[in-house]
């Protein structure tokens, strides 16, 4: 109930190949997060799973059945659209309850579920408003609410929290995780937020340019990225890539994450000057121009005061450096 298998899905819009052969297995109850650069095909893949878009070739199997000819309504899914796609003429409450009414749920059950969803999303004050009278974040929450009240076996979320503030985002994230546990539903979740991806996912799928770069558990991707792309994509600020030749290494590229570099004013591996310091409060990002390794980003916990122009030494954690070959693959 809720397992999903995707076999060699391809999709072109005219001459543009958007998906170039995607294979994926999602077991029942799994939480899968899709990440990837803007325009890599995440939404398209979601829409194909939902049955809103025909794939050019390939199969989608839900619970082992090829759903090629099953209309979206019969696939047992709920979806949060990136564009929200709220019903503009219905109130927030009706936006959420329309699907349930259609399914013939009893009125009190509808009221109960809408109540839960709207309190989970802090939407209570707005239940009688129409979408046009809501703020961006409120609309997004309605879109989420409309999906969650249905309690299906398969959820498709397309960047559901992008317009929410940090506090709400953390809350909603937790609620979604809880929902996942409670319903034991399978969830496919697209996000650009590293924290969401890392905290929610059982499995992260990194997409790039219509192809899957790597699939794995969050820390697996962080710790052992398969290639330069994944290494750079997971983690923010992104990994420093240093020309291998410059460091006298055999590998084409050497990668070190900003958090795996330590700095010292007096001694260290690479000497450089501070270019810019970004103070984020809890941590500080230092941009350092080193003689040997070029421009580096270093992430420091806490507040670190550094004047631009000051001399500084940066030392990478040797246990945490990655080596990439000419083809971008990691060399172990």
């Amino acid at each position: 109930m809720g397992s999903l298998k995707i076999e060699n899905i391809k999709k072109s819009f005219g001459s543009v190949d958007v998906l170039k052969g995607i294979d994926l297995d999602v077991t029942d109850g799994e939480f899968v997060v899709f990440v990837g650069p803007s325009g890599c095909g995440k939404s398209t893949l979601l829409r194909i799973i939902a049955g809103l878009e025909d794939s050019t070739s390939g199969k989608v199997l839900i619970d082992g059945d090829n759903v090629g000819n099953v209309p979206p309504a019969k696939r047992g899914i709920a979806m949060v659209f990136q564009t929200y796609a709220l019903y503009p003429h219905l109130t927030v409450k009706n936006n959420m309850s329309l699907g349930l009414k259609q399914a013939g749920e009893p009125a009190d059950e509808i009221a109960r579920r809408v109540g839960i969803a709207s309190s989970m999303l802090s939407l209570e004050p707005y239940l009688e408003r129409r979408p046009a009278e809501l703020s961006g974040g409120q609309r997004q929450r309605v879109a989420i609410g409309r999906a969650v009240v249905r309690e299906p076996k398969l959820f498709l979320f397309d960047e559901p929290l992008s317009n929410l503030d940090a506090a709400l985002r953390v809350n909603t994230r937790l609620e979604i995780a809880q929902l996942h546990r409670r319903l034991a539903a399978t969830m496919i979740y697209v996000t650009h937020d590293q924290v969401e991806a890392m905290t929610l996912a059982d499995k992260i799928v990194v997409l790039n340019n219509g192809q899957i770069e790597q699939v794995g558990a969050p820390m697996e991707l962080y710790n052992s990225p398969a290639n330069e792309f994944v290494a750079g994509f997971i983690g923010s600020p992104k990994m420093n890539f240093i020309d291998g030749g410059r460091l006298g290494e055999a590998a084409k590229t050497i990668g070190v994450r900003p958090e795996h570099i330590t700095v010292d004013r007096n001694a260290g591996t690479w000497k450089g000057t501070v270019i810019h310091a970004e103070h984020l409060g809890a941590d500080t990002n230092l941009y350092i121009d080193t003689e040997k390794a070029g421009l580096l980003t270093v992430r420091i916990f806490g507040v670190y005061d550094a004047e631009p122009g000051a001399a500084i030494y940066a030392t990478p954690d040797p246990a945490r450096t990655y080596r990439f070959g000419a083809d971008g693959r990691v060399i172990r």
Binding site: A73, F81, A85, L86, P88, R139
Partner: protein, 279 residues
């Protein structure tokens, strides 16, 4: 939007243009209404001047009310118009939804087929239509009129509505599909409310020729019990003399119900229902 977006000179210019055109639009109407309250001599002696105590004359209205059962005629017209309108809108919207939403073999041919009706004046089919009604025993019933007007109104309705339905966001309909709505529900709950302005427009366009039609009431339902207002008013148009007082009075009165219907429909033309649906 804000007041700042409408500059004063432009607003004045807009009002000037609209007022000017309103004057042009209303002038002849005013002439008609004013004259319907005047005696025949006064109408032609000075058609522009408002009725004075001397020329004020309700003869037109009294003639109308005396001759024939005009309240019944109004009721007939109203029933026929509203029922036909309802059917045209319902059937027309359903057909246009099918044409604009689904791609199926023969889609555009079906579109063309449904448009054929606006290319030939339906009056040419009078004899066959009348035979059909005679055969089915519908002569001198309002049903006959309703059927004819429904058929007559459909092509235009389909033509206009399918264009507007193409503008309804696919994401929205898809959201409905994912919500488990059947195609019928998507049509009734999502699409219909969103094309309300177009429905109102079609309603208005459809209603006018129905209300004003003289031919089919004359042919299909001329009996006293089924007469419509327009047909009733024709009574005053004679071979050599036309009782203009009565014609003007009858037809001035006949404007009112259509005007009311128009006002009802034009309430659907409200800005901003659709915005905010999608990002």
């Amino acid at each position: 939007m804000s007041t700042a977006t409408s500059s004063l000179p432009r607003t004045i210019a807009a009002h000037a243009v609209l007022l000017a055109y309103t004057a042009i639009a209303l002038f002849p109407v005013v002439v008609i209404v004013v004259n319907s309250f005047k005696s025949r001599n006064a109408i032609f002696r000075s058609p522009l001047s408002p009725p004075t105590t001397e020329t004020f004359d309700l003869i037109g209205y009294t003639t109308v009310l005396r001759q024939g059962d005009f309240f019944l005629y109004f009721q007939n017209s109203f029933i026929v118009t509203v029922m036909s309108l309802f059917l045209v809108l319902l059937f027309g919207a359903m057909a246009s939804f099918a044409l604009s939403e689904y791609r199926f073999r023969g889609n555009s041919l079906m579109g063309l087929y449904l448009a054929l009706g606006i290319m030939i004046p339906i009056r040419l089919g009078t004899v066959a239509i009348l035979q059909l009604m005679v055969a089915s025993g519908l002569v001198n019933t309002l049903t006959a009129l309703i059927l004819v007007y429904t058929a007559q109104g459909l092509p235009l309705a389909v033509f206009i509505l399918s264009e507007f339905m193409k503008q309804v966001s696919d994401d929205l309909k898809n959201a409905g599909r994912i919500d488990g709505l059947s195609e019928y529900r998507i049509f009734f709950r999502l699409v219909l409310p969103l094309v309300r302005p177009a429905m109102a427009t079609v309603a208005v366009f459809t209603m006018i020729p129905i209300w004003n039609d003289l031919w089919f009431p004359l042919i299909l339902a001329p009996s006293e019990a089924t007469k419509t207002v327009t047909l009733g008013a024709q009574l005053f148009i004679g071979q050599y003399v036309t009782n203009w007082n009565a014609v003007l009075a009858a037809l001035s009165l006949a404007i009112l119900p259509v005007l009311i219907l128009y006002l009802i429909f034009s309430r659907q033309l409200i800005r901003g229902i659709t915005s905010g649906a999608v990002k």
